[in-house]
Structures are given as structure tokens and as C-alpha cells.
């Protein structure tokens, strides 16, 4: 991924938070037969391995798990908020006109090798943890044990546990850090006035980049 220094995101906690907040990963494997891509919600286990481990599962009917060998590299891309940025928001537009549109976004790329884990207890532990993480926003969180045991058993037989110890983590935060200070401030205001969750999340990222670094 092309990473100009001002858009490089090296802060591991920030990258981990991005994965937690946007866990649907685009999982790309380079197999002998070519690229295999699947979209899988991953759970990040920060404590497993030096750079954390991604835990997920796929349907047994998904042939990807037959193709995974120790020499099969993969990358999982996690995509955070994004927004089109119009120069119409920039004070610089009237002052000197040296402005153009851009696209802001943030992504984390987790590189590693995926392992197939045939272990019922580990799979159940993963399902419980995934459920716990995502049910946190529910008034009365659902639990795996709320479903009949025979039903859960039959579903578990139809899926396979995947674990990807992260070997290398790369991140990009393109949040207007390379624009003029006043243009960045007005980008936050422009995004705030725009509808939708993604625009508000991007406004937070542009503001946060103003608050934390790159102060002129």
C-alpha cells in the first residue's frame, strides 16, 4: 500500500481499535490456484502472539480452508470510515484557488499465514467471544447458550475455525493531514453538516489528527 509519511498509521493501539470497530475483514489469500477472497468478521485477540491474532470461522462448504498451507500468505484489510472531501469547504479555495478534491479513508492491513484449527472447544470459545463483543450494544445481549444445544452442535459441525497470527500490521490514515490548517478545520465543519454515520466518523478522525499531531 502506498504510504506517504504523513498518512502512515503506526500506532498499534489505533490499528487494533480500527479492527475492533470495523471487524468485517476482506481476507485475501495467495493460493497456488490464484487469489482467494472472502469477507469474514474477525475477532482480534490482542494477547495471542507478538502482534495479536485474528480469529474467525468459515462454512465448511467454503473451499478456502482446503487451500491453506504454511506457505500461503494472506492479508486481511479492515476498512474504517471514508468520505469524499470537496475543496468547496476550504477557505483556500477563495484565497488562492490552489485546491482540489480528495478522498479520505483509513485502513488496516494485517499480514500473516492462516491456520485451520479443528478443535471444537476453541471454536466454541471463539463463538462465545464474538457474540459477547457484538451483543454489547443490545439491551439484553443474546448468548450462544440461548439456542438449543443440538442446534448449536449441528451449526458448529458446518463451520471451521481459522486463526491468523498477525506477522505484520500496516495502517493508513488519510484524514487531511497534508492540507492547510484552516482547510482541515473547515473540512471537519463540512463533514459535520453532512448526513450519515461515515461522515461523522471521518469528521472525528480529521479533528483527532488536528488535535494530536501536525500542528503547524
Amino acid at each position: 500500500m502506498y504510504l506517504p509519511p504523513y498518512h502512515r498509521l503506526d500506532d498499534r493501539d489505533a490499528l487494533f481499535s480500527l479492527i475492533d470497530a470495523h471487524p468485517l475483514g476482506t481476507w485475501v489469500c495467495q493460493s497456488a490456484g490464484g487469489l482467494i477472497v472472502n469477507h469474514i468478521p474477525f475477532l482480534l485477540d490482542r494477547s495471542q502472539g507478538p502482534h495479536g491474532t485474528l480469529l474467525g470461522h468459515v462454512a465448511r462448504a467454503n473451499t478456502v480452508w482446503h487451500e491453506l498451507h504454511t506457505a500461503t500468505p494472506c492479508v486481511v484489510a479492515f476498512q474504517g470510515p471514508q468520505a469524499y472531501i470537496t475543496p468547496g469547504w476550504y477557505p483556500g479555495k477563495a484565497e488562492h484557488g490552489r485546491v482540489v478534491p480528495t478522498w479520505n479513508y483509513t485502513v488496516a492491513h494485517a499480514h500473516g499465514v492462516a491456520h485451520v484449527i479443528e478443535d471444537r472447544d476453541r471454536l466454541l470459545d471463539q463463538l462465545n467471544r464474538l457474540t459477547h463483543a457484538h451483543e454489547a450494544r443490545q439491551a439484553a445481549p443474546w448468548h450462544v447458550a440461548d439456542a438449543p444445544a443440538d442446534f448449536i452442535d449441528s451449526l458448529m459441525r458446518a463451520i471451521v475455525c481459522i486463526e491468523i497470527p498477525i506477522h505484520r500490521l500496516e495502517g493508513k490514515l488519510k484524514a487531511s493531514q497534508d492540507e492547510a490548517w484552516a482547510d482541515r478545520v473547515c473540512t471537519v465543519n463540512g463533514l459535520r453538516a453532512y448526513p450519515g454515520e461515515a461522515a461523522q466518523a471521518m469528521a472525528d478522525l480529521v479533528q483527532n489528527a488536528l488535535d494530536t499531531h501536525n500542528r503547524p
Binding site: 487469489l35 477472497v37 462454512a59 462448504a61 500468505p73 484489510a77 443474546w142 439456542a147 448449536i152
Partner: protein, 212 residues
């Protein structure tokens, strides 16, 4: 990509809608440094080629375009539309038998095609003008910004710093996993649940999933 029959997306209009409304594609490459992806906003030209043509630009400093042989390269671009976690709590049928588990809904399109590098100022000038027009319109600007609003020598300089890419699409593979395999009441109540958490896009996609 694993696609159960119920989630196959073949409707050309829907495939194109995903590409137009979610144009930030992940261009997947396998270069000297291994697997990689660059995230780039693409323009879809539906009229050129049997499956359309994607065009975009990258920074000249981005090595991705130098890795493409003169006769082009087969590439994959991944477009991701809305997505949402689905709680079994939302299904009205849950209390009846409890035979539900959580899932994740999402829509994606994989565009396969042949990439050619377009190191050509006319190509770039037309492309950035059209991209600007489209996105100024889509982001509902009262006074859409135009290329002509900028200083011409400034634009000339920026055009030197980017390189065009063009992908003739050979195959579009779409997956729409939106609860269309469930009872309508479960899908619609789950859509309302997703909307209550602030994800209007995914809620709308799920609502519309019954109308094939």
C-alpha cells in the same frame, strides 16, 4: 469467494449500483513485496466494454503502476457496500423456537479485469473532471466545485504527479448477503434493529432485499 446460491448477485443494475455508490475499491496486486492492496476511488464507465470499464489515478510515487507489464496485468478490485452485525434478538420468530444465531450482512462486488497504465495527460484531465462532477453532485454541494475554479498552473502541476489506470472489466462477481434467505418479518425487523443503531445504509439494503 464463497457464495451460497441464495446470496449470488447477478442483477447488472445492482452490481453497477454498488460500484457507483461505493467507489473506493481495493486494488489487489501481488508484486515483488507480496500481496498488497491499494484503496482508490474508481470511475465506472458502463458503456465501454461488455462489462464496463473502471478508471482511476494513483500517485506517480506509488510503485503499483510500475509493476504492471507493458501489455497489462490481470487484477482484482474489491468494492464493499454496506455491512452490519445481525443480532438474533431482532428476529420475531426467535421466541418461537430459538433456532437462530448471529450473522453478518454485507454486499460486495469483485471486479476482475485487465489493467493498463495510462500515463497520458488528456486521459487524466478528462478523468479528474468527471470524478469531480460526479462526487460534487453526489455529495449535494450547493455550489459544485469545478476544475476551472482552481488555478490552471496548479492543476497542470498536480496532473504531472499522478498516473492513470484503466481496467477493462471481464467479470463481475457479486454477493448480496442481506437476510433474503429468511422470513420477511425476521429480515424487516432486523433491518429496523440495524437502523436503530445508526446504520441507515445497511438497513435500507436489507429492506430492499425482498424485492427481486
Amino acid at each position: 469467494m464463497y457464495i451460497p446460491t441464495a446470496f449470488e448477485e447477478h442483477r447488472p443494475g445492482e452490481l453497477q449500483r454498488v460500484l457507483r455508490e461505493h467507489p473506493l475499491g481495493a486494488l489487489v496486486t501481488h508484486g515483488p513485496n507480496g500481496l498488497d492492496a491499494n484503496h482508490i476511488p474508481f470511475e465506472l464507465d458502463e458503456a465501454t466494454g461488455p462489462h464496463g470499464t473502471l478508471r482511476a489515478h494513483v500517485a506517480r510515487a506509488n510503485p503499483v503502476w510500475r509493476e504492471v507489464p507493458a501489455d497489462g496485468a490481470d487484477v482484482l478490485v474489491i468494492f464493499q457496500a454496506s455491512e452490519a452485525y445481525i443480532s438474533p434478538n431482532w428476529y420475531p420468530s426467535k421466541p418461537e423456537h430459538h433456532r437462530h444465531v448471529p450473522t453478518w450482512n454485507y454486499q460486495v462486488v469483485h471486479a476482475h479485469g485487465r489493467l493498463r497504465v495510462m500515463d497520458d495527460e488528456r486521459f487524466l484531465r478528462g478523468l479528474v473532471a468527471r470524478l469531480t462532477r460526479e462526487h460534487e453532485q453526489r455529495s449535494l454541494q450547493e455550489k459544485p466545485w469545478k476544475m476551472g475554479d482552481s488555478a490552471p498552473e496548479f492543476i497542470d502541476g498536480l496532473l504531472q504527479a499522478i498516473v492513470g489506470i484503466e481496467i477493462e472489466v471481464t467479470r463481475l462477481v457479486g454477493k448480496s448477503k442481506l437476510g433474503q434467505n429468511r422470513e420477511a418479518r425476521d429480515r424487516l425487523r432486523a433491518s429496523a434493529g440495524v437502523e436503530a443503531l445508526g446504520n441507515a445504509q445497511a438497513a435500507e439494503a436489507m429492506r430492499g432485499a425482498g424485492e427481486v
